[in-house]
């Protein structure tokens, strides 16, 4: 067991875990943050995507040791907490309104990939959107409505 210090969704956490334990398992098992999903366990599907120091990573490929001192954002950290409940982040709102989520299993990863994309390009072209999401697989939508959601989020000026 190793002691790991990291910041998750703006909160400092101390984790006792085997150093090679996957960040995905630490999030899901030790911290009960189950928004990151395991689809393939080999970095192909992107449903375990989280932001680590601002980079989009597959948390199934990150040993927790590597996350020492890192700032991690998961889907649970995107919406803002208000007294009356969660207020959706504009990207979440756009996925909801545009039909960007069907079964929902890829959605947390897709939304974080979108967040990352819109930080890089505030008004992405279709090609930039397609490339930005190519590490996140969706079997339900054919991606079309996810593209629409991202365009709507870009128009809403999410990155500003």
């Amino acid at each position: 067991m190793t002691t790991i210090l990291l910041t998750i969704n703006s909160q400092q956490r101390t984790i006792e875990a085997p150093p090679m334990k996957r960040l995905l398992d630490v999030l899901r098992e030790d911290l009960n943050l189950t928004g990151a999903k395991e689809g393939c366990g080999e970095g192909e599907c992107g449903s375990c995507s989280v932001l680590m120091n601002g980079d989009l990573v597959n948390s199934c490929l990150v040993p927790v040791l590597q996350a020492e001192g890192a700032h991690i954002t998961t889907i649970e950290g995107l919406a803002s907490q208000l007294a009356e409940g969660k207020k959706l982040h504009p990207i979440q709102q756009c996925f909801l309104e545009q039909g960007g989520a069907q079964c929902g299993i890829c959605t947390p990863g897709m939304i974080l990939a979108t967040y990352h994309l819109l930080e890089k390009y505030t008004q992405p072209t279709l090609l930039q959107i397609q490339e930005g999401l190519s590490g996140n697989l969706c079997r339900c939508t054919g991606y079309t409505r996810i593209f629409n959601a991202i365009r709507a989020a870009a128009l809403a000026g999410v990155a500003e």
Binding site: R28, T34, C40, E76, G99, C106, I129, L137, C140
Partner: protein
């Protein structure tokens, strides 16, 4: 009567959408029960043989584990679908690779892989068969005997119960023959199959799972545990994609987890990882279709003989019904004076194939829509003109003799789709540009139909029931076993109830399917939810309203506020209110299972899909560059969800045609990873233009017909028709990978020219009259 907003036909927010975008939705692997253990499956390493010994490596502390074998099964060692041939756990013999033999459970998930590997099983291997052809030879009989040897099911479908007169073959201007093949396809839902089971000696079995059909699992548990249905409780958890892959398989994994729970005395979670899910669970049936068609020189279809064979894998599972849908769709949306379809589902030593969106129809429609282009070429007509001369029309009869009473206008659909896709101009443009271009472009289309609801007498047998109750707050709450797995069940059923009750959409709630609470409204399959279950929701809502009005608590002319007040008053007076509606077969629907005759489906969706492709003659890769999907599906209940269904189906169809290939070696799937089984990514999908023609159907809720499976049927043949336009090569098999294109374009000199195309010059096409 107060004016009510139009809820059906608008696009309200998906009911469970907020939980999904927040990451709060609870899928099965997100759930932990107190004292929960974890399960794993020990599987056969060979495709066929006799088990000679099982030993346990002493390096593992086996006393910490629960080990289940077939001897622990309290009821029958059988997973019941349609036949009782499928063991829950293998005992003496195995019939496919990855067949379950033992189950293990342990409190610590991470120790299970090593324990599975430490169970040593020896076998006496028997010869295995892997193809439809080997199965047909019957040299090795792996299933059944006599007439049924290696054969799960056969059908003979003849229009008007008449064989094709020899005279037709003797006098036809052309006889066109062709053979077409489709491969297995993995559903590849992003959430793998998974369950959590609990067992209690008094109350029985409880299974929570990712699934489509809770009552199928109840049925399976009753047999395995020898318990009455009321002691087999099944709860659907949020389901991360299904596409048919969670129709029959949850009965297997659910029974396994429940056996482990019973023996260990703990709740047991059994969730497959991707490699196990892909290697061991069902796929789309591979198929071979042979066409022999008599045609006049005017391009009229005179008679067709279709031999349709599917590979069912090692056990029957759902193969007979997959074969049935494939058989009925094999003649397509065309008028055939005579048609004979001979169909069979064959056994091989491959893990059982099962349900996948389209359910046999994508296979037989692929064959027909490729064959129609071949016929056109032989006769000397355009693909468009040949189809126009043979479309079914209102008042026509399908191959099963079904009279088409509802309006059908394929001529108009074709005209509109070709206009919207600018088909003719593009065809000319590509013809002009291709000779001097490294990238060969093409445009092609497919015209097709898809039946909504269970085949034949299926809906009558299902006898579905829907209930609506009032919550203590006076909100209508829908009780159905229809499951949400992304396609929008929750949302559209609430829209139907809201519209019927003239209440706001957000005032309707829907219960999570739990067989302890909801009635059996049938499985969530077969493009039946909007049409069949939707109609029942509409009727139950009407009944609820009538009860409230006749109780005196509600006037005919009410506001949502009045409704809620009346509901609360009614509950105060009577305690509860539950309205119900049971399926009633429309009076004019009859089906003769024996002769394959009658109303095969209450309604059909009709469609024309147009694909544009580019074939790179340097890399031999084909890609879809643009796609137009026009369909008539009755009333569109929710435009955003409906278009999302079509777009998703088209993407799966692109994968089916160009990317997704199952590679088998000795009966094992060797590419059981997302790394080497290639599904379309965001970079692979073209712009998909979805349009609807809306002709309300009398059978469905507010005129809706089925939509879920339809978009799986058209893409593959449209894409290969476009590739034929681009390359002048008539490919007959999917998936069509770059290496297949390379093979055909480079193997023979002058490849890619019309003269070498066997559709014209080869031995397959023969002219009957000189």
């Amino acid at each position: 009567m107060s004016s009510s907003p139009q809820i059906v036909g608008s696009s309200p927010i998906r009911k469970e959408g907020t939980a999904k975008v927040l990451g709060h939705a609870q899928y099965v692997d997100d759930i932990t029960l107190p004292g929960m253990w974890f399960g794993a499956t020990v599987r056969s390493s060979i495709p066929r043989g006799r088990i000679t010994s099982i030993t346990f490596d002493p390096a593992i502390p086996w006393d910490e584990f629960t080990i289940v074998s077939a001897a622990d099964i309290p009821g029958e060692n059988c997973i019941v679908h349609l036949a009782k041939d499928h063991p829950c756990l293998a005992v003496t013999h195995v019939n496919h690779a990855e067949e379950p033999i033992l189950l293990l459970a342990h409190p610590n998930r991470s120790v299970l892989p090593a324990a599975v590997a430490a169970v040593r099983i020896t076998y006496e291997e028997l010869p295995a068969i892997y193809t439809i052809e080997d199965s047909e030879k019957k040299e090795e009989v792996i299933w059944g005997e006599g007439e049924q040897a290696n054969t799960f099911k056969t059908y003979l479908m003849q229009k008007n119960q008449q064989p094709i007169p020899q005279e037709i073959w003797d006098t036809a201007d052309f006889i066109v023959e062709g053979e077409y093949r489709t491969g297995a396809q993995e559903q590849l839902y992003i959430e793998n199959n998974g369950v959590i089971a609990e067992y209690n000696a008094e109350t029985g079995v409880t299974v929570r799972a990712s699934m489509q059909c809770p009552f199928y699992v109840v049925h399976a548990l009753e047999l395995v545990f020898n318990l009455p249905a009321e002691k087999c409780r099944v709860i659907q958890t949020e389901t991360g994609g299904a596409f048919g892959g969670k129709e029959d398989f949850p009965s297997v994994i659910g029974s396994h987890a429940a056996l482990l729970a019973m023996k260990s005395g703990h709740p047991v979670k059994l969730c497959y990882d991707r490699a196990e899910d892909m290697a061991a669970t069902t796929k789309r049936h591979p198929s071979r279709t042979r066409h022999r068609t008599a045609v006049s020189k005017e391009g009229k279809l005179l008679a067709g003989e279709i031999d349709f064979a599917i590979d069912g894998g090692a056990y029957a599972t759902l193969s007979p019904v997959v074969l049935s849908r494939g058989t009925i769709h094999a003649p397509g949306p065309y008028h055939w004076p005579y048609i004979t379809v001979r169909a069979k589902a064959m056994a091989t030593n491959i893990p059982p194939h099962g349900a996948f969106r389209g359910f046999g129809a994508p296979q037989s429609i692929f064959a027909l829509e490729r064959h129609m282009n071949k016929i056109a070429k032989v006769v000397g007509l355009t693909p468009e003109e040949l189809r126009r001369r043979n479309f079914l029309t209102t008042g026509g009869h399908t191959a099963t003799g079904q009279l088409l009473k509802d309006p059908v206008d394929m001529q108009h659909l074709l005209t509109r789709a070709l206009e919207e896709s600018n088909y003719h101009a593009k065809r000319e443009q590509f013809d002009r540009e291709n000779p001097t271009s490294i990238i060969k472009r093409g445009i092609g289309f497919a015209t097709f139909f898809h039946g909504a609801g269970f085949t034949g007498s299926g809906e009558r047998r299902l006898n579905s029931l829907v209930e609506i109750e009032l919550t203590p707050e006076g909100q209508p709450r829908l009780l159905v076993s229809s499951t949400e797995f992304g396609q929008g069940t929750n949302t559209i059923l609430c829209q139907v109830a809201a519209q019927t009750l003239r209440l706001p959409y957000n005032q309707i709630v829907i219960a999570q399917p739990d067989t302890g609470q909801v009635p059996n409204s049938g499985p969530t399959v077969a493009s039946r939810t909007a049409m069949v279950v939707g109609k029942l929701v509409e009727r139950a809502a009407q009944s609820l309203c009538v009860t409230l009005v006749s109780s005196g608590h509600l006037n005919h002319d009410y506001t949502p506020k009045d409704f809620r007040r009346a509901a609360v008053h009614y509950l105060a007076e009577f305690g509860t209110l539950k309205a119900e509606a049971r399926y009633q077969s429309p009076g004019d629907i009859f089906w003769d299972d024996e002769n394959y005759r009658g109303e095969a489906y209450p309604a059909y969706a009709w469609a024309v899909y147009v694909a544009e492709v580019a074939v790179n003659t340097t890399t031999y890769a084909a890609s879809v560059t643009n796609f137009y999907a026009l369909q008539e599906v009755g009333k569109v209940l929710h435009p955003i969800l409906a278009a999302g269904q079509i777009e998703g189906g088209v993407a799966q169809g692109i994968g089916y045609a160009l990317y997704e290939k199952c590679l088998w070696r000795n009966g094992h799937l060797t590419n059981n990873q997302m790394t080497n089984y290639i599904m379309p990514t965001s970079a692979d999908v073209p712009p998909i233009h979805v349009t609807f023609e809306e002709i309300p159907s009398p059978h469905g809720a507010f005129g809706a017909k089925g939509i879920g499976e339809l978009p799986m049927d058209g893409p593959a043949p449209a894409i290969l028709n476009a590739i034929e336009h681009a390359t002048n090569i008539a490919f007959t098999e999917i998936p069509l990978l770059p290496e297949d294109i390379f093979e055909r374009m480079t193997k023979v000199p002058d490849a890619g020219t019309e003269s070498l195309d066997p559709t014209i010059a080869g031995p397959i096409f023969s002219e009957a009259t000189a």
